[in-house]
Each structure stands twice: as structure tokens, then as C-alpha cells.
Amino acid sequence: MRLYVDNAKCSGCNACRVACSLNLFDESNPKKSALLVQPHFPIPGVYEVKVCTQCGECAAVCPDEAIKLNARGAWYVDFDQCSLCEACVPECPENVMFVKVELATAAWKCDLCGDCVDVCGTGALWISEKETAVA
């Protein structure tokens, strides 16, 4: 299972990012979310969303073994074990592995909670085994 995105359906509202920060930190703050919404305006006028593919590259390099599998089969950061070494960040092919020491005391990433999907009004995000299962 993983999160998928159809960029053509994204309208750039960022509701997904607020929902994500609420799940990860109990806070309302898109700068503390595990998705990236990148607007490309005025030309060509499209949004590009970066999401975690659960590839596990981050977990593979974590020296503290702080990135673990949860019951949903997703890699998540055990905040108590993270030492903020940032080894994971450059390994992420989608740039959605985050360390921002000024904002949080641990690294963070998508744990596949699904809240972003719940608040996406345009059906741009969905969780499934295969990409073809578009919502």
C-alpha cells in the first residue's frame, strides 16, 4: 500500500498538508507535513505533488534504526529514536523526507495515515496497492 497522486487533479489547496501536520504533530502547520505541493505558475499552470512511495530507502540508511514499519505497512519515524543525523534526507528520491531542526525534534515522513486523502476534495490523492486504482 502507498499513497498515489494525480497531479492533474490537484488544485493546490494544501488541505492535505494541514491534515498531515495534524496527524504527525497534532499541529496545524503545512510546513510540518510530509507532502510537497509545488505550484508551477504562471506557466505552465499546473501543480506537482510529491508524496512518499514507501520505497524504504530512508530506513535502509538510518543509523539509529528509527524508521520502522507500522501496521499499515508504511515506514514511519519513531521520534524518540531519531537523532536528527539527516542521513535519510538525501536518500529520498521524492524529497519528502524532512529534517527541520527549527520546527521539530525529530525527522518526519508519511506514515500512510490517510488523512490527506480524506480532505482532498478533487480526488487527487488515494491509497492503494497499485496506481491504477484511481479514486
Binding site: N29, D118, V119, G121, T122
Partner: protein, 607 residues
């Protein structure tokens, strides 16, 4: 304070002094935020008689307690000032992502005071707040400047920017954001321009404090679920506000040739499905919106990209000018946006000029050689530029139709379509009495969004002049603007039919204070009366004559279309006002009574 950024930022452009103060608890209690904060600070701090384009006027930019949170449509920002267009109260609402960013930067309001001696932009990155030199951006269009500032600071920074229209203090200059969102009405961009503030750049990383995170999160999700379950979601999202274009044409509400009619014989070419198929490439939403009305378009004919056109722009720069090419409307939209002028007022000004030209009152000598027959696309493009530069005929039209028609005279005042000096937005109100009254009594002039009553007119009988209609208009005026007060969007309630009690659960959890809609509507009524008192204070002799609509709606019945031969009689116009004043608790001349002001806890403020 839960639900708030917590600070008011004051920037004195004359002295360069920048200071923050805590958001006053009692102001939050009585005026909530957003438009309420704007009205409060405007009335309290801008001295009576201040020149709208002088150093004593202020531009008050406010978020609300919804802004930036997990609430559908939590992206509305209010811009309040004393209007250079009308001389009264102006409040313009802007969507996008600016208001959320204010909250993340810990700000509920930004108050711009004084006048800078040179072009500047205001840079805000949480605690780092500076006025920076903007000379390299001065003179450039809004789109290019926003692009440059985004490239300089990054996509996480939000930008509000004025164009040449604002720099040149066009009476209806707007403020632009997110490549297509505007604080459009009343000349807020002219006030920013006269202060020599080219742009505001803002970024924040604060989390917004919330009283009960668990309940707020559940309530927020329930709101999103309700939106997603709404049967109208798909159609609304596909067409946005242009979903009403065909309906307006059918019922005679589509402004046509300077509001001389409400149906356009070539209107079909402007309908939502035509636009969607021909030019729309992306649905573009404001912050937190599950039902994005923004349509981002590409015109192949003009090789251009623009957000829009939305319904109002289609009405005013399309049918109102006799233009039926949706790509031409999109291009006119782009030119107006880039120049930083309001498409609604500009469409009215050009429509008025075209009617003057067709009646022989303006000739080619007056129009700098332009052929201003209705339908002339190239002349429309040319005039938009001239208005923003205040060049030739554009200088006259830049003053708005009220002042322009007073200067030209010759009966042109009768077809200058405005109330209180603000040009009428996109609903022709021939024999649609609730919408007519809504425009007559709207707190900024002839604008639709406080009380969008046109559908109600058609439902209950468009020509009825009854107390129930008046009561509906008043209720809408008290309730709908509360979304602008709360820093969110009303359209999920309007278009998707979301149960408004769902908002109460969320808001209570956010602020930690229980308030019912009855309570919020009381705040709405307080603000409505306060802004009325601003008109009274700033305009000697203010009386019911200020609430009169354009004579076009009670003297000249349309000669074609769905409203052919239909009119509201002048005595019915006055009956509407009589009932309105009575239900508002105002005098027969439309002035709030002292008892009413005491009851609304306004006596001290307006004394």
C-alpha cells in the same frame, strides 16, 4: 489566543517604524477578525475627513480565526480602507494562500499607515520584518513581479502585489495574489499604491494554537466529508462560478451592453461548458478548498495564461461590452489583472463609455481615435491599458462611472451603473427586487457578495415587494459576511449546501469559546451598523438618496431578452427602502438610531 496569530503588525511608511502589538481580546470578542477587525480599526483610527489617498488613511489587512486551519475554504483575507472610489467604507475579500501565511507568521492584521517616500515592499518572515527597496519592481505588471519575487524567495512565500493601476491610483485598482486572486473592489490597490507599497511578501512557520485539537480535527474532517459527499461538488468544481452564466442569461440577470438588458443574444458562447472545453487547463483552489472555483485557462488565440475568467468578469468584460468570444474575455481578464485593476468596475466604465459613444456623446475625438462600439475587442484591450496608465479617455474612466458621468453630464449619469459610486457587479437587476435591494444597501456600494439574493428572487417571484424579501436580504447581509470575518469562504455553504452547524463545532473547538450562529449573526449586524456609521460620518448629508440604484432599473425597461419590458417602479424602490430601514431599526433616511447603536454595543465607538 486560540485560533489567532496573536499579533497586530503596524507598519508606518512615513517613519519606517514597524511594531507589533498583541491582538486585543475584547476586539476579538466583539469583531472576531477579518472584515470585523478591518471595520473596527478603520472607524477607530482613520480620522474623520481623511483623504483616501492621503497619509491618514490606512490599509488594514486581516485574517480570521478559520484562516490557515483544516476548515474548507479557510483562505479568505480581508482588505479594508477608506475607499478612493466611493469616499466610504471599502472591504475587499481575497482568496488564495496569503491569509493562511499571515497566521503562520503569527499575524491577525497588518495595518499600513502613512506614505513612503520611495517604492518599497514589505518583507515578513516571522520575526524578520523589513521595508525593502522596490524601485526595480515599480512600473511592472503584477504577474511578472509576483513571478520574480517567488523566484527570489521561494514558493513557500506568499505575495500580494499591485500593478500600474495601483501605482497610478486608479480609483478601482486591486491587489493581486497567487497569479489570479484579487482583493478587487473599492480601490484598495490605489491606497496601497499611493503608500508606495508595491508588494507584501510573507512567510511563516508557526503552528496555529487551537483549544481542543482532537475535536477540531474531527469537526474539520466532518466538514470535508460533507463537502465531498455533496451532490453538486463535481459540477461546481468543473465550472466554478461560471456555472451560473447560462442561468443568468436565461432569467435576464446577465449584464448586457451596459446593463441595458439581462440576456445576451450571443451569450451561449460564454457559458461554462464552452469555456471549460475551450480554455480551462487546471482547477485552482484557495487555501484548504475542497471545491475549487478557480479555473486556470490558456488561450491559444492570444498565447496567454490567466486564472479565470470567473462569472463576474465574463459578465462585465464579456456580455456587458457586447463581447461573445470567451478567449477575448480571458485576454481582457489577463490585461486587467496584470495592470492591477478591478474587472468589474473596469467593465462598467468601458460599458458606460461604449454607450456614450453609441449615443454620440463621446466621439472619436474624445476616445483618442478608438471606435467604441459595443463588441470592439481591440478597443477594450486598449482602454484597459489606458485606464491603468490614466491616459487620455482612460484618465476619465479611472475615476469610476459616477465621477466620470458627472464630468461629462448630458444625461450620462442615468446610465452610470453604480450605487454610492461603486460600479454594479454581475447581476442585472431589472425587476429582481431582492437583488436590487441587496445592491442598494450593500455596505461598499453595488456589490453582490454580501447578499446574493438573485436566486431567491426567481424562487419566490421576482417582482414581489414584501417584508419577507427584505428580511431575507437583511439576514444574508448579517450572515454571509461572517465568513469574511472568520477568514473563510462562504461558497461551501452557498453552493454545496453544507450544514452550517458543522462550522460551529469546529470553531468552538478552535477558539475554546462557544458561540452560536445567532451570536455570530449579531456580530455581523454590529459590523453592518458600524460600517453604515462610517458612511454617515464621512459624507455630510448622507441620506436615503445614497441608497438609490441606477435609474436604469426603475426608468428604462430592457427592449430584449428575458426581462423585456420589465421594470421596478420607483414607488416600489422606495417601499423596499422603507421596509429595509424599519427592519434594520434605522431612521426613515437610513441612519442607525442611537437606540440601535446602544443595543449593538457600538455607542461608545461611534460617539
Amino acid at each position: 489566543m486560540n485560533g489567532y496569530g496573536g499579533k497586530i503588525l503596524r507598519v508606518n511608511l512615513t517613519t519606517g517604524k514597524i511594531a507589533k502589538e498583541p491582538t486585543p481580546v475584547e476586539v476579538a470578542r466583539d469583531f472576531i477578525g477579518g472584515r470585523g477587525f478591518g471595520a473596527y480599526y478603520l472607524f477607530k483610527e482613520v480620522p474623520q475627513g481623511a483623504d483616501p489617498l492621503g497619509p491618514l488613511n490606512k490599509l488594514i489587512i486581516s485574517s480570521g480565526p478559520m484562516s490557515g486551519l483544516m476548515i474548507p475554504g479557510a483562505g479568505k483575507c480581508d482588505f479594508t480602507t477608506k475607499s478612493p472610489l466611493t469616499g466610504g467604507y471599502a472591504s475587499a475579500s481575497m482568496g488564495g494562500h496569503f491569509t493562511a501565511e499571515m497566521k503562520y507568521a503569527g499575524l491577525d492584521s497588518i495595518i499600513l499607515e502613512g506614505i513612503s517616500s520611495k517604492p518599497v515592499y514589505l518583507f515578513i518572515d516571522i520575526e524578520k520584518i523589513e521595508l525593502r527597496d522596490a524601485s526595480e519592481y515599480w512600473g511592472q505588471g503584477t504577474i511578472e513581479v509576483e513571478k520574480q519575487l517567488k523566484e527570489k524567495f521561494g514558493e513557500e512565500f506568499q505575495i500580494a502585489v499591485i500593478g500600474p493601476g495601483g501605482e497610478n491610483a486608479v480609483s478601482y485598482a486591486c491587489i493581486n495574489h497567487d497569479f489570479g486572486r484579487q482583493a478587487g473592489r473599492g480601490g484598495v490597490g490605489a491606497v496601497m499604491g499611493i503608500k508606495k507599497v508595491k508588494a507584501i511578501v510573507i512567510h511563516g512557520t508557526n503552528s496555529i494554537p487551537v483549544a481542543d485539537t482532537k475535536t477540531y480535527r474531527q469537526a474539520g474532517k466532518a466538514l470535508y466529508k460533507a463537502c465531498k459527499d455533496a451532490s453538486f461538488l463535481a459540477e461546481w468544481t468543473r465550472y466554478g462560478t461560471t456555472v451560473v452564466t447560462s442561468w443568468c442569461d436565461e432569467v435576464g440577470a446577465l449584464p448586457t451592453r451596459n446593463f441595458s438588458a439581462g440576456s445576451f443574444e450571443d451569450g451561449k458562447n460564454l457559458y461554462g461548458p464552452v469555456m471549460r472545453e475551450k480554455i480551462v487547463i487546471t482547477d485552482k483552489g484557495c487555501f484548504g478548498c475542497p471545491s475549487p472555483c478557480g479555473k486556470y485557462s490558456r488561450s491559444k488565440k492570444y498565447d496567454s495564461y490567466v486564472e479565470g475568467p470567473e462569472y463576474e468578469t465574463i459578465g462585465l468584460l464579456g456580455s456587458n461590452l457586447g463581447i461573445s468570444d470567451i478567449e477575448a474575455v480571458a485576454q481582457a481578464n489577463l490585461l486587467a489583472d496584470d495592470a492591477g485593476i478591478d474587472t468589474i468596475s473596469a467593465g462598467n466604465a468601458i460599458g458606460w463609455a461604449m454607450e456614450c459613444y453609441e449615443k454620440g456623446i463621446l466621439t472619436r475625438e474624445d476616445t483618442d481615435g478608438l471606435d467604441l462600439h459595443f463588441g470592439n475587442i481591440e478597443a477594450t484591450f486598449e482602454l484597459l491599458g489606458k485606464i491603468s496608465r490614466k491616459e487620455g479617455l482612460g484618465a476619465l474612466l479611472a475615476e469610476g462611472v459616477k465621477k466620470a458621468s458627472q464630468k461629462i453630464g448630458k444625461g450620462t449619469e442615468k446610465f452610470a451603473i453604480h450605487v454610492k459610486g461603486m460600479e454594479q457587479s454581475g447581476y442585472a437587476t431589472h425587476n429582481a427586487t431582492a437583488m436590487l435591494l441587496a445592491y442598494m444597501t450593500c455596505d461598499v456600494g453595488a456589490h453582490h457578495n454580501r447578499s446574493w439574493a438573485i436566486t431567491y428572487d426567481i424562487q419566490v417571484g421576482r417582482d414581489l415587494v414584501v417584508p419577507e424579501k427584505v428580511a431575507r436580504v437583511i439576514w444574508l447581509q448579517n450572515f454571509r459576511p461572517m465568513f469574511d470575518v472568520l477568514g473563510g469562504c462562504r461558497l461551501q455553504w452557498v453552493e454545496l449546501g453544507i450544514d452550517r452547524e458543522l462550522y460551529i463545532t469546529a470553531l468552538d473547538a478552535i477558539t475554546g469559546i462557544h458561540r452560536s450562529w445567532d451570536d455570530y449573526e449579531k456580530v455581523g449586524e454590529r459590523i453592518w451598523n458600524l460600517t453604515r456609521m462610517f458612511w454617515v460620518r464621512e459624507n455630510a448629508g448622507f441620506d436615503r438618496s445614497w441608497d438609490m440604484p441606477s435609474p436604469r432599473f426603475y426608468e428604462e425597461a430592457p427592449e430584449s431578452g428575458a426581462t423585456k419590458g420589465q421594470i421596478t417602479k420607483i414607488e416600489d424602490v422606495h417601499r423596499l427602502l422603507d421596509m429595509y430601514y424599519e427592519q434594520r431599526g434605522w431612521s426613515n433616511e437610513g441612519l442607525p438610531t442611537s437606540d440601535r447603536l446602544v443595543e449593538l454595543n457600538l455607542a461608545e465607538l461611534v460617539a
